[in-house]
Symmetry: C2
Subunit: 398 residues, 2 copies
């Protein structure tokens, strides 16, 4: 008896081997104790929220007895939050944004869903560099869209502009980049992004319709070694930024993000009206009000990226010692190393599991033969895994 | 140039006359001052959040410096919130629910979207009694579904079971009821709902597939004159309750609701797995964490329904004095009166506008010839509108 839709049923099946890894981890933790397991699977930041969060909650506690304090608001968000975001993004994106160009959303994930619901027709394609954040396929698929992953250049995961240009068809509606990247930690530089914008402009002209350049930027605040995250809005008229405060303020569970539309976009008003309607009709209605107040108060503050840099360096030295090849991440909090030896990514993750180390096989991100590690946990956990990585690599080489 | 999808473009157009009324109201308020305008359009409760909300925010302010305090969590919600909700709903629904039967959602609107994404195939039909909450059409349409409104009995807006039975087809997947009802204030009694469950059981057997009975209950806490809101879960195996705390705790902007699945449902585990996946992939990821903590602390408390009852009575007496016919609402905070005189609902709302009174034409809810008034505002505003209603009714009679 079919109690759920075929598509959702398939979604559950396709997620099930990642889930199996996750459940193996739970089993392992129950068996040996959580502190005996090194879990590098989930990107759940362990840094506490920035101090402004506690201060603002304290302040809100004194204010919420006012009527409407936590009531409905315009679907695009609190006017004051939109205004503050516009000022912040004007600096960050180097184009003059007004409150009207910003829609506050239920995290970046909510922002991407709202955007795809707004612009995709059934069968439209969303291109993204691969390896990629596996949820993108679901986000496009929710609205009849199709994700088309395009392989990035190895070994540094930079954009392959020729491959992207070749992959664009009459059905391409969006090219979606995620920089700093999950799962690779790559940060696209100005020349790559300028080249990408040129590809999109040519393709748009060829097919007589706009192709949106969408930049998903939840990790913008986490870059290392002076790496620049170039603003996307000055590069392409049909560009949109989607961002979040989950990582910058350690606020992932409260679900606050935004969509910012290029003020220079032709018919940008129409896109914005569509985004606001879709934010409403997808059932978000508006982004959570308390989260909006927290972001408004804390905007510009970020957690200390230096802590993540030290963890990255610890993880890099551990991998080097185990003889595992990797591209050093320039941002975010992920490594995407090559599987060593003669085994595939599933088998290597199984070998790691035997060392009580949890990692995600690369095929979960569209690239078998690699695996993903997060480093948003204490350095002690990273260091504790050193011998286990060596053991697994040795066994993989046999 | 088509910058947004055709469907969203149509959505903006179809919403535009309600928007026009709303914008006329803004203009009126700017011209005469907000206190000179009686706005009965929007269901935004004016009661402050219950006191537990401030207390819990205060408590949270002292706790959020802990790592993970506002971080990611299981997609179905905080285990403790699910558990408390299960206990609460066990009393309310009179069937034994466990935490596993409850998914915390981004309001009832988020809950309905998650449910429709999970169960609807392209072209599936969602039946609902009409007049109806206009967003339902969008919620079903987001996932290729089609809303099929079925007229309720007049003048009391009770369920027309024969009409519902006749309207069920092989494509019917969900019958959605909203009780206490927006826009009518009707509350379906036990015999209506038992009859409806029998209709669904017969139809399910005829078409060899389950038809879900979904009860949308954001106004459950607001009933008057000892009216009972019968629990839906004991009536039909394939039943689901969707609820929210927007009205009971005056927390509409924080977006907290839930989906509760009948523990007696065959393959209920599969439905729940689908709901949890869809809560994730629609970009909600999880319901806002602070809202979950607030609900967990305040569950069982509600705003004083007596205040709304007094407002209802004030509005009823005002309408009677103006010679306007209506069914006295048993719950929620809406009247859905008949348009008096010889004019249609658009014209009558225009006449009210001239009296600086804002109301929504009934066609916005699928029933021309009626109009909707909310009474979630101060009684003084209601009383101030008395002469205006009389004037408009007099002019409508000419």
């Amino acid at each position: 008896m079919q109690v759920i839709s075929k598509n959702v049923s398939d979604g559950i099946q396709s997620a099930s081997w990642i889930r199996r890894m996750f459940e193996a981890g739970i089993e392992l933790k129950q068996k040996y104790g959580a502190d005996q397991v090194c879990d590098f699977t989930l990107g759940n930041p362990d840094l506490p929220p920035v101090p402004d969060v506690a201060r603002t909650l304290q302040k809100l506690a004194g204010e919420v007895q006012q009527p409407f304090s936590l009531g409905y608001m315009p679907n695009a968000g609190l006017p004051s939050t939109r205004q503050r975001l516009a000022e912040h993004l004007t600096c960050e994106q180097q184009v003059p944004l007004g409150a009207a160009h910003v829609v506050v959303t239920c995290g970046a994930a909510g922002g991407l869903n709202v955007l795809f619901r707004t612009v995709l027709e059934d069968g439209d394609e969303v291109l993204c560099p691969s390896p990629y954040f596996v949820e993108y396929g679901f986000y496009a698929g929710n609205y009849g869209g199709k994700l088309v992953p395009v392989s990035s250049r190895l070994p540094d995961f930079s954009l392959d502009l020729d491959a992207i240009e070749s992959a664009i068809t009459a059905r391409t509606r969006v090219v979606l980049v995620d920089s700093p990247n999950n799962p690779t930690g790559a940060v696209y530089n100005r020349s790559e992004l300028t080249g990408l914008a040129a590809v999109l402009a040519r393709a748009g002209a060829r097919f007589g319709k706009p192709i949106y350049l969408v930049s998903d930027e939840p990790y913008r605040c986490l870059v290392y070694d002076g790496t620049e995250v170039p603003p996307i809005l000055p590069l392409h008229r049909f560009s949109v930024v989607v961002g979040s405060f989950s990582k910058s303020l350690s606020l992932a569970g409260e679900r606050i993000g935004y969509i910012a539309v290029n003020p220079a976009m032709p018919q940008g008003d129409e896109l914005l009206a569509g985004l606001i309607l879709c934010n409403r009709i997808l059932g978000y209605v508006n982004a959570p009000v308390i989260g909006q107040r927290l972001v408004e108060a804390a905007l510009g503050v970020t957690v200390d990226a230096g802590i993540y840099r030290k963890r990255r360096d610890a993880m890099a030295s551990l991998l080097r010692d185990a003889g595992i090849e990797f591209a050093l991440p320039k941002g975010a909090f992920y490594f995407f190393p090559r599987v060593p030896g003669r085994v595939d990514d599933l088998e290597f993750c199984r070998l790691l599991l035997e060392e009580r180390i949890l990692a995600v096989p690369g095929r979960g991100f569209g690239l078998p033969g690699y695996f993903r590690l997060t480093y948003c946990m204490d350095e002690a956990v990273i260091r504790r895994a050193a011998q286990g990585f060596k053991n697994a690599a040795t066994r993989a080489a046999r």
